[in-house]
């Protein structure tokens, strides 16, 4: 009897491990404490904090969708139903905090479709994210997760990912990934993004690469935005 149970358990685990097509939904928890206005804040900082807090609180109503096959992935923010009570500008800032647009990846080449400066762009990037995997473990739902810290010289704040090798996918929410397992939780300074459900598919999902927009490289995009900012500042 024990052997049968063990076999069933292993078979179940194996099925879960071999699944390479799935849809995962991530919920967002905003971290708001550091955006409370205090006595030391000048007028500019107070205004900025009030604006940010208003937008950050909206992120709690957003969901991030991740769909993947073995070598293909897509992720985007699900705004839910339209709500007239929400200020559209605040919502756009909230989405910018999470990661706006559509993230698509195929055969390790990443595409990020985004509308900026009134135009659509598809930013192409083949550089993988680099992480330092630690020995720290924690259980999130049914999954045992390892802690990884993003190696990012340009980043002002630390980004931590909790990934589970139990789901053999190198993906995560809004373009994050390149770890030996699906990212189950992502911690940034302002947000905790955590997987709330996942449904595995028997057959590969039909994922479409975003087509709308001018394709440019990450380096070209950065050059362009830096130029726009410096020109506008001098005007």
């Amino acid at each position: 009897m024990k052997n049968i149970l063990l076999l069933l358990f292993l078979a179940n685990f194996q099925i879960g491990f071999c699944q390479t097509s799935a849809t995962a939904v991530y919920k967002v928890e905003p971290i708001t404490q550091h955006l409370l206005v205090n006595e030391d804040d000048d007028d500019l900082r107070s205004r900025a904090k009030i604006n940010m807090l208003r937008s950050l609180e909206l992120t709690a109503d957003l969901e991030i969708i991740v769909k993947f096959n073995q070598d293909e992935y897509i992720s985007y923010i699900d705004e839910g139903l339209p709500n007239d009570a929400i200020n559209a500008s605040d919502l756009r800032v909230a989405m910018a905090m999470l990661g706006p647009g559509v993230y698509y990846e195929k055969n390790n080449i990443k595409y990020h479709q985004i509308k900026t400066m009134g135009n659509n762009f598809i930013i192409k990037d083949d550089a993988p994210q680099k992480w330092t995997i630690t020995k720290e473990l924690k259980k999130i739902g049914n999954y045992t997760c390892y802690k990884a810290i993003l190696d990012c010289a340009k980043c002002g704040f630390e980004t931590i990912a909790w990934f589970s090798p139990e789901i053999s996918a190198t993906y995560g929410p809004v373009g994050n990934g390149d770890l030996p397992g699906l990212i189950i939780e992502l911690n940034t300074r302002h947000l905790t993004i955590r997987m709330s459900k996942i449904s595995f598919a028997k057959n590969p999902l039909n994922l479409k690469k975003p087509e709308k927009g001018k394709e440019i490289t990450q380096a070209e995009f950065e050059t362009m935005t830096n130029r726009v900012r410096s020109q506008a500042r001098n005007d």
């Binding site: 500019l44 989405m95 980043c155 704040f157 300074r189």
Partner: protein, 99 residues
């Protein structure tokens, strides 16, 4: 005086019915005049004060560029770290520039 005048008229007309009609009309008109006089209220003339055009203290328009920079710094650590975020923060402050 009014009654005397009416009487004179009724004598001139010299009919009983006419007399009655004229008397009734005279009573009604007199009553109406008296009642009106009692209910009439005198409204003192108070000119409406001319509104003073108070000029509010000058309110500086928000420096959206500076606010967007500040928000970006708080969001990702330094000015220039996220163009997407900066753009949306700026547009939220000055939507007319982004329409």
């Amino acid at each position: 005086m009014l009654l005397a005048g009416l009487k004179k008229i009724s004598l001139i007309l010299n009919t009983n019915t006419m007399k009655k009609i004229i008397l009734t009309l005279a009573i009604i008109i007199s009553a109406a005049v008296l009642l009106n006089a009692n209910t009439l209220t005198v409204v003192p003339f108070n000119p409406i004060p001319i509104a003073e055009n108070v000029i509010p203290d000058a309110v500086d328009p928000p420096d959206c560029w500076a606010i967007a920079d500040e928000e970006e710094e708080m969001y990702c650590g330094y000015v220039g770290c996220s163009f997407f975020f900066w753009e949306q923060a700026y547009c939220a402050c000055d939507p007319w520039q982004c329409d």
